[in-house]
């Protein structure tokens, strides 16, 4: 018999799934050609309910369903991050769907909710079976979401690329799971940890490598990042906001569990090289991009690299730094893409830098908000991005990774160039674009406000979130 408290430990996921189903059931009731906004509201309520459920969850830390999930500060931390992402994405989609005339609103919101369920499960699952399924849930829903702009060939292409390469990478992950299973005889993270603590296993090395390939693909770290620019460019902007943050954060959570909770061996140089490659390739690749979505895609590769620096730093400082980075990266990136999604207008026509010329004049508020997100991405003080980088590099230095830190800081300086380019276009170029600027709709406004507040909050008073992250790191290592 399963105790009732176990259901509380998956309560947010349950709530979200139920609301996803409600969305699907409400969809046919709505008029065929009408606005899908009511669905958005349902989804919004669902997300808020899930947030509340997450808050409720904090009183019930522990494992559930025969060691399938584990609710602790670590998982709650990522739950909140993922749910906040979903919240902002739903808000950003609120008007986006109508603007882009995406008819499949029911499926759209339902997929976001279900995908979020997958991501949340990824962070709380401690059994590789469940992790795998959750990973697939979040992946498949994003594959589909990527193809949501059905009239656009780019969207279909993005979907296909994401799907094929994603499945390809998943196979590697799965192979890794098979190996770890062979090595340790179990697929439970903490059982694996127990085994690896007592016994050496050659297979485990191979297993970690293969799982890193699969997860590295999900977090878009080099050299498994190649899909990112294409997919981000082709996918609907709010979906990019989601997929560049949510599954990434969740995959990082899994990676943290796999690398740290299991005490997996031998991965340090692999992660080190991957971090360096990600930062460098991401930043250099972004230098000449003209398409803002694509540019941000490259930047997200670089950010994965910074996060991996924290991984390389390891220990509690590294883990907490990585968690903090994931949170603040989510806040700023989701915000940036939300702005992009609004500005892109119908058919996502206006996504190149030239379209951004003079935005500071045409739409000062939108430009100012985007500027703050970009500054945060650069890592300028008073923004979350600054503290994120700060913690990561200081963790790296505490672990004596001087060279990695130096490469990292140089990279973050180079990165300033292309973010600055967007600011330059917005404020310093003369207006040439005919891109219209619509008023900021309410939904998007709220969404932007949330991510803005989060970004600034993390930049001014990071202490509290960091404490949670430290607590989470402790829980993870327990």
């Amino acid at each position: 018999m399963i105790p009732a408290v176990d259901y509380i430990r998956i309560l947010p996921e349950l709530v979200l799934s139920i609301f996803g189903i409600i969305v699907m059931m409400v969809d046919p009731v709505l008029p065929e050609q009408g606005s899908k906004k009511p669905l958005g509201i349902v989804a919004l309520v669902g997300t808020l309910a899930a947030l509340a459920a997450t808050a409720y969850q904090t009183g019930f830390y522990g494992e559930a369903f025969y060691h399938m999930v584990r609710v602790d500060t670590f998982s709650v931390f990522f739950h909140v991050v993922v749910l906040m992402i979903a919240l902002v994405v739903i808000l950003a989609s609120y008007d986006y769907l109508d603007v882009q005339s995406i008819r499949a609103g029911g499926e759209y919101y339902a997929l976001i909710l279900f995908g979020t369920v997958g991501m949340m499960l990824m962070s709380s699952a401690i059994e590789l079976v469940l992790i795998f399924i959750a990973l697939e849930i979040s992946s498949i829903s994003t594959y589909i979401l990527a193809g949501m702009r059905r009239r656009a060939a780019e969207s279909a292409e993005a979907s296909l690329k994401y799907f094929l390469l994603g499945s390809f990478a998943t196979a590697f992950f799965l192979y890794g799971v098979a190996m770890i299973y062979g090595a340790t005889g179990t697929t439970n993270i903490y059982n694996i940890a127990n085994y690896l603590h007592t016994q050496q296993s050659t297979l485990a090395y191979l297993a970690v490598g293969l799982m890193f390939v699969g997860l590295g693909f999900k977090v878009a770290s080099a050299p498994f990042h190649v899909w990112t620019p294409d997919v981000y460019e082709g996918s609907p902007a709010p979906v990019v906001a989601l997929m560049s943050t949510g599954p990434k954060a969740a995959a990082f959570a899994v990676l943290l569990r796999v690398l740290f909770a299991t005490g997996a061996p031998g991965w340090f140089w692999m992660v080190w090289v991957s971090a360096v490659l990600s930062m460098t390739l991401g930043n250099i690749g972004a230098l000449v991009q003209q398409n803002v979505k694509r540019l941000l895609a490259y930047s997200s590769i670089a950010h994965a690299g910074y996060l991996l620096v924290a991984f390389a730093a390891g220990r509690q400082v590294g883990i907490s730094a990585a968690m903090f980075y994931a949170a603040s990266y989510a806040a700023m990136n989701v915000g940036a893409f939300a702005v992009v999604s609004h500005f892109a207008s119908a058919g996502e026509k206006y996504v190149t830098l030239d379209d951004y010329a003079g935005l500071g004049r045409r739409s000062p508020v939108l430009a100012a908000i985007l500027t703050i997100f970009l500054l945060s991405l650069i890592g300028i003080p008073v923004t979350g991005g600054f503290f994120a980088k700060f913690y990561v590099f200081s963790a790296a230095l505490q672990s004596n990774l001087v060279w990695l830190t130096i490469i990292g800081v140089i990279n973050s300086a180079i990165a300033a160039y292309y973010y600055l380019r967007i600011i330059v276009y917005m404020y310093m170029r003369d207006e040439r674009s005919e891109a219209p600027v619509a008023r900021i709709p309410v939904g998007l406004g709220i969404g932007l406000a949330i991510s803005l507040v989060a970004t600034i909050y993390l930049g001014v008073l990071p202490g509290r979130v960091l404490e949670y992250a430290i607590q989470g790191a402790q829980d993870l290592l327990k």
Binding site: L128, F132, S167, A178, Y181, P229, G234
Partner: protein, 100 residues
Amino acid sequence: MVPLSYYLVLSAILFGCGVAGFLIKRNIITIFLSIELMLNGVNLSFVAFAAQLKSLDGHIFVFFVMVVAAAEAAVGLAIIISVFRTRETLNVDRVNLLKL
């Protein structure tokens, strides 16, 4: 009696064939088939390990992998159809609007 490593090598060969197929085939559907081949290879590992460990977890895993593969197949084929609609081709090399 068959040594476990034989199964593992066979599984690796199948996986490798899948990877190779992904890399050299041009038809999207064939590429997708290659992915299935990779999954089959993985499955073999699971089952072999399960037999060695006398644990059924591996079988369960295989079961879930099959379910996932089925789901992926449904979505994947739908995506392929959708791509075919917009691009009128199944040649993966022609699906390259997005690049650089």
